[in-house]
């Protein structure tokens, strides 16, 4: 192997009292993709910022060396470092929305980067800007260069960010969660683009991510970070074949997949320890199910678990190797009886529409409608989970809220146990509030920060007159907290004292307080780390088995769907394009959009043979949907007749319906 491009040795970074990066070592060869993997709060981003020397004001690099082609970046002066940034070392960030200046044209922003590094003449700069835009796969670059950031979609913006990063012809690109804010189909486009660029120019990529699937698909080697230090480093193939560190193994086990449907997910208890204290032993010891006595006292040394596969764990000490290689016993549990499959639907939604008027002009006249939800029909049976799947902007959250009358539906009917809910006023809706509840995506925003946890949970009991006195409500709240796996004493504390996963448990307890029968779960795990997500999914599954709840599970994450859902409805641009049982949808998808969606999801298994079906372009605006089938402009199999009329639903089987001309009924 030739000399590595990037060599990091003993890098330690502190922010205030917290040592966010501790004794970090990694090597990166030319043209290689190296992934830094870990949950939030593990110091991944701080590592990237340390490499760029762009730490926040309180941050300080304490020791170590970062050698790029033999030059120690930490010894360069700030002026010299500025010449390195962009020219040899470039970075792209997670949020393309906030990384571009909203009042500058795209072309001008890229030209700025080009001029900085090349200092070329004006004509050459323009040519270079177009070349870059072309390189990142932006169609019609001449026109796009003259547009402003708000005219571009999220995926396009990320491409522009990549174009800017490439302006200086860097040797190493640091990508900090480049696709986390994007939808799966767009994520597939961006990852594909990075791969192509790498093959063309021999760029090395340091990919920072928490998504095991993305790592499996793109990286050649990876390092797992935990609480500021690297605990395992290996080639991707070796890692996914046999993860060596207990943390890595549990991370893989906690991923929800279809194979684990019957079983509980291996959730990692607890959370990442705060980094502002001194560690004496292994940092994972508190959460490790197989911790040895010496784990808490002795810093584990590096062990070689295979060729180029290093792990920092006592289990690999000579006398323990057997224990280390034995896989953790799977927590198996019999598949619950498929109850309620044939029962009468509890909630029936027919042709639900939610349109938001667009006002324009002085007189605020209505000039158009945003058809957020445009004719959705669903059926939810008791004790079952219906997943509503789609990319952001497809109207799935609006549909969920309209179901609970949090947003007034424009048309259509929502029948709960035969009672019509659509159009009920605040007062007449109250008697149904008890049965229909909701859990939100962001556990940090879904609780009033000024209320005690006990009052948050007791709010519904009070509003619906189920428990009149406060002591009674607090007692009930404590019971509910126990039910969701939290100590009952938490009622006396404020929401900000809890972590994301714990807050989501509190939110679940709040929904459960009124004894509901249906819970709308609006992406309840997408703001959480994988290991915490597993805890919440396990909890939801337990609660369903114990209390016979029905879930309308709104999500964009198909692996969660595979694990949890019984039925699936796929939404595109306000309409359900395909629905059916989970096995039908995931194994025999018929609609081209469903197929593209499924193939775009990165799978945490590098050996998986997959034919990737890449979608071009972005979802159109729901205020001006394309004529005919909404999907036909992006559909790889579109025919001329697709543009004529929206296809009627066709039944593939008794439970499986598709809206596509290509599917012939009854097949």
């Amino acid at each position: 192997m030739s000399a590595p491009l990037l060599e990091v040795e003993g890098l330690s970074t502190t922010i205030g009292a917290a040592r966010v990066v501790d004794d970090l070592r990694l090597e990166l060869a030319r043209g290689e993709t190296f992934a830094l993997l870990g949950e939030s709060g593990c110091g991944k981003s701080m590592t990237a910022l340390s490499l760029m020397r762009l730490l926040p004001p309180a941050g300080r690099i304490e020791s170590g060396a970062v050698r790029l082609d033999g030059v120690d970046l930490l010894r360069l002066s700030e002026a010299e470092m500025r010449r390195v940034r962009g020219a040899r070392l470039a970075m792209i960030f997670q949020e393309p929305q906030t990384s571009l200046n909203p009042v500058m044209r795209i072309g001008a922003q890229i030209a700025e980067a080009v001029r900085l590094h090349a200092g070329a003449a004006a004509a050459a700069v323009d040519a270079r800007v177009l070349e870059l835009l072309h390189a990142v796969g932006i169609p019609d670059p001449e026109r796009r260069a003259r547009e402003y950031p708000h005219q571009l979609s999220g995926g396009m913006k990320q491409r522009v960010m990549i174009a800017m990063a490439l302006a200086g012809d860097p040797e190493l690109l640091i990508a900090d969660e480049p696709t986390t804010a994007l939808d799966v189909t767009i994520q597939a486009q961006v990852l594909g683009l990075l791969k192509t660029l790498q093959q063309q120019s021999g760029l090395a990529v340091l990919l920072i991510t928490h998504d095991l699937g993305v790592v499996a698909e793109t990286a050649e080697r990876l390092a797992v970070m935990y609480a500021g230090e690297i605990v395992e480093t290996a080639t991707t193939a070796a890692f996914f074949a046999a993860p060596a560190h207990p943390y890595s193994r549990m991370l893989l086990d906690s991923l929800p997949t279809a194979d684990k449907r019957g079983a509980r997910l291996a959730a990692i208890p607890g959370r990442v320890p705060p980094l502002d204290r001194a560690f004496t032993g292994c940092r994972f010891v508190e959460r490790c199910p197989r911790a040895l006595a010496r784990c808490a006292e002795q810093l584990p040394p590096w062990h070689e678990a295979g060729a180029g596969h290093w792990v920092r764990c006592h289990l690999w000490d000579a006398d323990q190797v057997d224990a280390a290689t034995v896989a953790a016993p799977a927590v198996a549990e019999g598949e619950q009886a498929p109850a309620g499959e044939d029962a009468a639907p509890l909630l029936e939604v027919a042709d639900l529409k939610v349109h938001f008027p667009i006002h324009r002009g002085v007189l605020r006249r209505v000039v158009g409608q945003v058809r957020a939800v445009d004719g959705v029909s669903l059926q939810l049976r008791p004790g079952r989970t219906l997943a509503l799947v789609g990319e952001s902007g497809c109207g799935k959250t609006t549909a969920g809220k309209a179901l609970l009358q949090l947003i007034a539906p424009t048309a259509g009917s929502i029948r709960y146990q035969g009672h019509e809910l659509a159009g009920l006023g605040h007062r007449r809706m109250r008697r149904f509030r008890k049965d229909l509840q909701i859990i939100f995506q962001d556990p940090h925003a879904s609780m009033n920060p000024r209320m005690l946890v006990g009052d948050v949970i007791g709010e519904g009991l009070q509003a619906l007159g189920l428990a009149r006195t406060r002591p009674e409500r607090l007692r009930r709240a404590a019971e509910l907290l126990e039910l969701v796996g939290m100590p009952g004493a938490a009622v006396e504390r404020y929401p900000h004292e809890f972590s994301g996963g714990q807050r989501q448990r509190i939110c679940i307890a709040r929904a459960l307080a009124v004894d509901p029968r249906v819970i709308v779960c609006d992406e309840p795990t997408s703001a959480l780390d994988v290991s915490v997500q597993a805890q919440i999914l396990n909890l939801l599954k337990d609660l369903q088995a114990r209390l016979g709840l029905s879930y309308l599970f709104i999500t964009h994450d198909l692996s969660v769907v595979a694990y949890l859902a019984h039925e699936v409805a796929v939404m595109y641009l306000g309409r359900v394009v395909e629905r059916g049982r989970v096995d039908e949808i995931l194994e025999r998808p018929r609609h081209p959009y469903t197929r593209a969606l499924l193939s775009a999801v990165p799978v945490a298994d590098p050996r998986a043979e997959r034919r990737t079906l890449r979608l071009e372009g972005d979802m159109p605006s729901p205020s001006a949907p394309p004529p005919g089938c909404h999907f036909h402009p992006r559909c790889p199999e579109a025919r001329p007749e697709c543009a004529l009329a929206y296809p009627e639903g066709r039944a593939v089987s008794a439970t499986h319906r598709v809206h596509c001309l290509l599917v012939e009924a009854g097949r």
Binding site: L406, H426, I438, D442, S446, N448, R450
Partner: protein, 472 residues
């Protein structure tokens, strides 16, 4: 009874405001999320320094807000059964500054002067008439030789400062003993900690500020008995007395105005943001219309109308003080009417954001009523905006009073206020030689108050603004 308490309208409102403040403090002390930002204020050095300064102003204003009428000294022996009270309404501050109030000269005199500022015809004992600067009746009257006043001023000033520092020392000992008891350490150790600046609340900064204020105050207090420290105005009234009396006016305008406008701004702003639709349209229409009328015009019209009413119904007012007081209250009201729109707009925007928040949605999904949602979820979460606006508005209103009085539509001309002092000094500045002390005194007092209020407002905003909290 030797005196009869008189409660003016503004006094009552000030007491109400203090009671509200006390109630809020008691409530906040029991709720961690309310206490935390105030703790941040108390731990900021600028926060405590400005608090000490504002506290001194507040003390003066409160002393000046306890009004009473003294019993008239019996002139006719004990013949009449009913006790008769003086028609003059005095405040505790007036009583404390009785010397300053009564020691008036004939006309202008410079600070620390022993002679008048204008020449007068003086009749000498031998019958000749001389045009010269006559000796003052009170200022420096104890001196045999006016040329020796420099030494006298220095000596009295130092003595006063020392007395002030002695008082400060007593406060220091009492405070350190109290703090030490709470922490369970010896007072000496506590004092060492304060001295080294190793306390959470920056007591050292607070005590140093207090020391300088007390030293200055002591010196001025001792000197004021024998000199006009800040000179006298056209009719010979002591300028220091005027400036101190103006403190109450300024503070009342700054605080009562917001108290008056608060309910309207809160109710309308939150209703507009929460209910939207026609309620929102109506309220927006109301405040955009109100905003389009020039504030000064509205104030001028209202104050002039009140003036006419007062002169037509002069018999309704028991005393000049009461009349002036009503005018002050009316000014607060009308300033409130013109200034609630800004806060209302801010609250509407914040409520629009909050009503879409997940916890409000969750509450509606639980069937909680609209007004409970407003009271429980929206109001507590917009209170930081209210507080920040109130503190920021305060200094603006104090300055507004000065400007309005300057154009004669402010407080009553008989009421002491910095605006009236500046208004009076307008012509003096054109005199030769110039009379600069009235204006300077008003300026220094107002400047100190507004600067302290602005700095305090910055600290409060930093402590309460959730966006800044994340950055800190």
């Amino acid at each position: 009874m030797p005196l009869m308490p008189v409660v003016l309208w503004t006094d009552a409102l000030l007491y109400l405001l203090l009671a509200l403040l006390g109630g809020f403090a008691w409530h906040a002390a029991r709720h961690e999320h309310l206490r935390a930002p105030w703790r941040r204020v108390a731990r900021s050095r600028i926060g405590v320094v400005t608090l000490v300064v504002l506290g001194c102003y507040l003390l003066v204003a409160v002393l000046d807000s306890v009004h009473l009428r003294l019993r008239l000294a019996d002139q006719s022996g004990a013949t009449s059964a009913e006790t008769r009270y003086s028609p003059e309404v005095l405040s505790l501050l007036d009583l404390a500054l009785a010397g300053l109030r009564s020691q008036s000269e004939k006309t202008y005199s410079a600070p620390f002067a022993t002679h008048l500022y204008v020449k007068e015809a003086i009749e000498l004992p031998d019958g000749r008439v001389l045009r010269d600067y006559p000796r003052l009746v009170h200022g420096g009257a104890h001196l045999d030789d006016p040329a020796a006043r420099g030494l006298d001023i220095l000596w009295r000033g130092l003595l006063g400062a020392l007395l002030g520092l002695a008082l400060w020392g007593a406060i220091l000992f009492a405070l350190s003993a109290a703090l030490a008891r709470r922490r369970g350490i010896t007072p000496a150790l506590m004092r060492a900690r304060i001295k080294a600046g190793r306390t959470e609340v920056p007591w050292r900064a607070a005590l140093l500020t207090l020391a300088s204020i007390l030293a200055l105050g002591g010196a001025v207090a001792l000197l004021a008995g024998h000199y006009h420290v800040l000179g006298t105005d056209k009719v010979g009234e002591d300028v220091l007395y005027q400036a101190l009396k103006s403190v109450r006016t300024g503070l009342l305008i700054g605080t009562l105005t917001t108290l008056v406008m608060l309910p309207a701004a809160l109710l309308l702003g939150i209703m507009a943001g929460y209910f939207r639709g026609w309620v929102d349209d109506l309220i927006q229409y109301l405040y955009t219309t109100l905003n389009a009328i020039p504030g000064v015009l509205l104030i001028a019209a209202a104050v002039l109308m009140l003036q006419v009413y007062m002169s037509n119904h002069a018999e309704d007012f028991a005393s000049l003080v009461e009349r002036a007081d009503l005018r002050l209250l009316f000014l607060c009201l009308i300033l409130g009417v013109t200034s609630w729109t800004g806060l209302c707009r801010l609250l509407r925007g914040e409520t629009l954001k909050l009503r879409e928040s997940d916890y409000v949605q969750a509450a509606s999904a639980l069937g909680v009523g609209h007004f409970t949602i407003i009271g429980r979820h929206i109001l507590p979460n917009v209170m930081h905006i209210v507080l920040i606006t109130l503190v920021l508005d305060f200094s603006g209103l104090v300055l507004a009073e000065a400007v309005l009085s300057y154009v004669n539509i402010g407080v009553d001309p008989t009421m002491n206020s910095w605006g009236n002092m500046i208004n009076g000094a307008r012509l003096e500045l054109a005199r030769e030689p110039v009379v600069w002390w009235s204006l300077s005194a008003a300026f220094v007092f107002m400047f100190t108050l507004v600067l302290a209020a602005n700095l305090f407002a910055d600290v409060v905003r930093d402590a309460f603004d959730p966006r800044l909290r994340g950055a800190a």
